[in-house]
Point group: C2
Chain length 81, copies 2
């Protein structure tokens, strides 16, 4: 499963970890996700580490998942296509 649902502090988040060849490529993807977030006005948590990026989407206002989070997850995947 590409995306999984995590519960952090009682709030469900959609989470996916993407693998990269090094830190620089991971950080480049983080910036692409960041640009998408700014465009859409909806912001995830993005964990950048050596060779991987974890993106977590949830809706702060409702403290959980909204249909929009699923759309953002799909758009995040599309950044790699």
């Amino acid at each position: 499963p590409d995306w999984q649902i995590l519960t952090i502090d009682g709030v469900q988040r959609l989470s996916r970890t993407y693998r990269f060849r090094n830190f620089a490529e991971a950080l480049e993807f983080t910036n692409r996700v960041g640009a998408l977030a700014e465009t859409e006005g909806h912001h995830p948590a993005i964990v950048t580490a050596w060779g991987e990026v974890t993106v977590q989407w949830w809706t702060h206002k409702i403290k959980g998942l909204h249909r929009n989070d699923l759309i953002m997850a799909a758009k995040t995947d599309a950044l790699l296509e």
Copy 2:
């Protein structure tokens, strides 16, 4: 305390959360930390979210904290001076 020690999966990490006015400023700091990491050849986990960045340093090879992690923590702070 600015930096705290967290234990994640049995491994100690030095962790600090920095606050920013918005997502763009947070992401800009993430990139500065990323550039520092590339220069030093030592890479943290960086959690970027709206208005905040959490930086976590630890040494994979020893699965814990090395003196170098404390130096990297200090250098991370210095990026904001």
